[in-house]
């Protein structure tokens, strides 16, 4: 594989700065909790039912944590009260969850037992919760082995073909996903219903209606994974499943994704802040806990830096992507994730009419590969400059595939010729997969046959982006991450520390706070 000769001292310096930037955030993370962390905790203990509320399913964990918040006890966490009640009522977590959600038990009316006993029991429960993640992981590893999974985070086996389904109906999604797998797709992402990230609860059960996608629910995860297991065995090729671990419920989606054996989760330390206007504190605290679960489950995350290039100019803002990748990497390391689980994201979104645009795109793709050699790089297709000319769009996707295989990207989200028109039709996906297979096959070893001209346009561009990244990280470091985001350091978006959605779900931990998952995971 051809590599750029980038200054490794500069790269090391970037990592040092990212670490320094994360320090004050880490302190905040470990001194706070959120409603979403408490809900995910209960889910890992086995509370996964729902109650009907004005005609819709509302999760038991929400009923319970709502009451915790109403009692003004969020700062303690749910476990002191919940475990106390489990001991007093001699119920399992699942039983108690149902009893509390149906108003049969009032957690806060039960006299508190001995703290030591509660802590011991909580520790046991959390250990068992972790074990359920490990069991699911082991089961998943078994299927991967049976189906000769050849996934290589470093991308040495060529880019993995990743496509989306988005019918809104999980059962139609299954049909589309199976067809895509049969046509050659390696990974299926079920796009979520638009704005699910802003729901402060995870919808329940199998769903057949959604807007622009299908609701992420535990049951939908299970249905799709079951279908893909079947398809993987039939095809003798492991098919991965992706969903979205962002938004107000990122911790819970991580828990459900781990239990239902998802392979990939879109998960970004800053995406919610910038692109969904979710409160900064809430996002930073939640992303940590979600990644702790992900680290144990060994799910590969995909970070969302591609979004910077769709909102800000892709030629001018390469350094924002790189700076954010360093920050995402650092937060993931802080959550005990290893580099082979960090699918750092970027995209081919430059103006197609920019002179020598492919030199710049190759530079950005190659530098991402070279700076994060152990990480499975996630490469996103052109969207911004696509319109309704499907033929031109198909050609853009071909060039995107070419850059992907040339520069050794790991996970290639295939572009759709009908981008900006509708969610993909079966034939759109088929054409996209053929396009990718043709190019990935035909140029498989090209990257190994070429070298980049020293000091040529490609290397110079990469060096420039790296220098700009240093300048940006220095600014973020000097100002602190919160102020930097307020002053539009990323994606030209400004967010304030106390603004955005979900802020009321954040509380500083009290001395009484109890959650053994922070040690166990």
């Amino acid at each position: 594989m051809a590599h750029l000769s980038l200054d490794t001292k500069k790269i090391d310096y970037c990592r040092k700065m990212a670490e320094h930037i994360s320090k004050p955030i880490e302190e905040m993370i470990h001194s706070h909790t959120t409603v979403a962390i408490e809900r995910a905790t209960l889910r890992l203990l086995g509370v996964n039912g729902a109650v009907k509320k004005s005609g819709q399913w509302y999760p038991e964990v929400n009923v319970i944590i709502d009451s915790l918040q109403k009692a003004d006890k969020l700062a303690d966490g749910i476990l002191p009260y919940f475990v106390n009640a489990m001991i007093a009522k001699k119920m399992t977590a699942t039983e108690l969850g149902t009893a509390v959600a149906s108003n049969q038990v009032d957690l806060f009316a039960i006299p508190m037992g001995k703290r030591a006993e509660i802590e011991k029991k909580a520790h046991e429960l959390c250990t068992a919760g972790k074990q359920s993640i490990l069991d699911a992981r082991e089961y998943r590893d078994g299927i991967r082995k049976d189906t000769n999974d050849r996934f290589d985070p470093e991308g040495k086996n060529g880019p993995l073909l990743y496509v989306i389904v988005a019918t809104g109906n999980i059962f139609d999604d299954v049909i589309q996903a199976r067809a895509a797998a049969q046509a050659g797709a390696d990974a299926i992402a079920v796009i979520r219903s638009t704005a699910q990230s802003l729901l402060d609860y995870v919808p329940h059960g199998a769903t057949t209606e959604g807007f622009g996608g299908t609701y992420a629910t535990q049951e939908n995860f299970r249905i799709m994974r079951e279908a893909l297991d079947d398809e993987s065995r039939k095809l003798g090729r492991y098919i991965r499943l992706t969903n979205y671990c962002s938004g107000l419920c990122m911790t819970e989606i991580a828990a459900l994704g781990a239990l239902e054996r998802l392979d990939f989760l879109l998960n970004d330390a800053m995406y919610g802040i910038l692109f969904r206007d979710i409160n900064m504190k809430r996002t930073l605290i939640d992303q940590h806990f979600s990644r702790r679960i992900i680290a144990v489950s060994r799910i590969v995350i995909h970070t969302g830096e591609d979004n910077y290039l769709t909102t800000a100019d892709a030629v001018e803002n390469g350094h924002q992507v790189l700076a954010s990748q360093f920050i995402n990497e650092r937060f993931a390391l802080n959550a005990k994730m290893t580099q082979d689980l960090m699918g750092l994201g970027h995209a081919q979104e430059m103006d197609p009419e920019h002179p020598n645009v492919f030199l710049l795109e190759i530079a950005r793709a190659q530098m991402t590969r070279d700076i994060f050699p152990k990480s499975p790089i996630k490469f996103m297709p052109p969207t911004r400059h696509k319109s309704g000319d499907i033929f031109y769009s198909h050609l853009m996707d071909a060039m995107f595939n070419f850059v992907g295989v040339l520069t050794g990207q790991t996970i290639q989200l295939l572009g759709m010729m009908t981008e900006a028109m509708h969610t993909p039709l079966l034939q759109d996906r088929y054409a996209a997969i053929r396009n990718a297979r043709y190019i990935f096959n035909g140029a498989k070893d090209l990257g190994q046959e070429i070298t980049f001209k020293p000091n040529g346009q490609i290397e110079k561009w990469a060096e420039k982006v790296l220098d700009d990244t240093i300048a940006l990280l220095e600014t973020v470091d000097r100002k602190g991450m919160k102020l930097a985001i307020e002053e539009r350091a990323f994606a030209e978006v400004s967010r304030r520390e106390t603004g955005g959605k979900g802020f009321d779900g954040v509380a500083p931990r009290s001395a009484n706070y109890l959650n053994p998952f922070f040690e166990i995971l």
């Binding site: 067809a179 969904r276 309704g388």
Partner: protein, 329 residues
């Protein structure tokens, strides 16, 4: 070299049909998927469907297995049907295209205060690409965004703004214009959201005070009108297209409601001089673009501030005709 019989035929606008390589051949290409395995029967089924569409000389270019139980087809055929191009009247946004400096100058001189423009993606729509392109400083395709206009107080509210919140803010900020971008269209959610906004605006008596503009990849001007908006813009719209429309519409309305003559219309003297035919004579080779600048006639006088449903001024037949509902056929 050529004699009469080999001369290329020219277009017959009375009987317009698709063009492949010979005028009037009616050639079209079709791609679709059938939920059956590829087979001779599937092939026949695809051809029969095309026959039912009214195609002749059907050529099945390919039948591909696009998954178990699915076959994808690419088919060519010739259409018999024609349309009378001369009878087509499409409702378009009526405005004169101007640049940023000129627009700023017009507002400064003739309005004397900044126009307040609020932009948002409403409902659950989280796709801000469109509204960002129009509103944000940077703009789109080299055309600066409305935030950059000195005489526009343009504020991008971003994604997932609820209709009631948007209107509340519009009242508080005394908005002159509301721009709504809709990208997600599943289950026609965009239409529902747009209609809901106007319904709420009417209840608050804002529909005449504020200029409502919709935009998005699947938004057209007629669709926007149908939803009760004043104008709609689709893909490729530049910020200055929207700004041009805003000042024309603002000044027209001021004339209609406050009797202050629209200074931009001062030079337009004779309405009857307007060309009756609203469709510009197409040049043979270049397809007429759907952008607002496609309007060739300098018919400033025809820009009556038609409000949804209200008929245009009687004295302006051309305008009235152009503003009628999209009549395709």
């Amino acid at each position: 070299m050529s004699n009469d019989s080999s001369q290329a035929k020219t277009v017959d606008l009375k009987r317009l049909k698709p063009y492949g390589d010979i005028m009037g051949d009616g050639t079209i290409q079709i791609c679709f998927t059938l939920p059956v395995e590829p087979s001779p029967e599937a092939r026949e089924a695809a051809i029969m469907l095309c026959e039912k569409m009214g195609l002749e000389s059907i050529k099945l270019a390919t039948m591909e297995k696009a998954g178990e139980g699915f076959s994808m087809f690419v088919i060519y055929g010739n259409m018999k049907q024609t349309v009378d191009f001369t009878e087509i009247h499409v409702v378009k946004v009526e405005s004169t295209k101007r640049g940023r400096d000129e627009i700023d100058e017009i507002i400064k001189t003739h309005i004397g205060r900044k126009l307040v423009v609020l932009g948002a993606c409403t409902g659950y729509d989280a796709h801000t690409v469109g509204i960002d392109a129009i509103m944000n400083m940077k703009g789109y395709a080299g055309d600066y965004g409305l935030e950059r206009y000195q005489w526009l107080d343009a504020r991008n509210l971003g994604a997932q703004v609820l209709n009631e919140e948007l209107l509340k803010l519009a009242i508080r900020e005394k908005a002159d214009v509301i721009l709504v971008s809709k990208v997600v269209t599943q289950h026609n959610i965009h239409v529902r959201d747009l209609k809901d906004l106007i319904k709420r605006a009417k209840q608050l008596g804002l529909d005449k005070k504020i200029i409502f503009v919709a935009g998005g990849p699947r938004v057209t001007h007629p669709l926007a009108l149908e939803c009760g908006f004043d104008a709609g813009f689709g893909v490729g719209t530049k910020p200055s297209d929207v700004a041009s429309y805003i000042i024309d519409e603002f000044l027209n309305r001021r004339e209609e409601f406050e009797g202050i003559p629209n200074p931009l219309k001062a030079n337009a003297t004779d309405d009857t001089a307007l060309i009756e035919k609203p469709v510009p004579t197409p040049k043979p080779a270049s397809s007429p673009k759907k952008s607002i600048s496609a309007k060739k006639t300098p018919s400033r006088a025809s820009q009556s501030p038609t409000k949804k449903g209200q008929s245009a001024k009687k004295a302006k037949p051309a305008a009235k005709k152009a503003k009628k509902k999209a009549k395709k056929k």
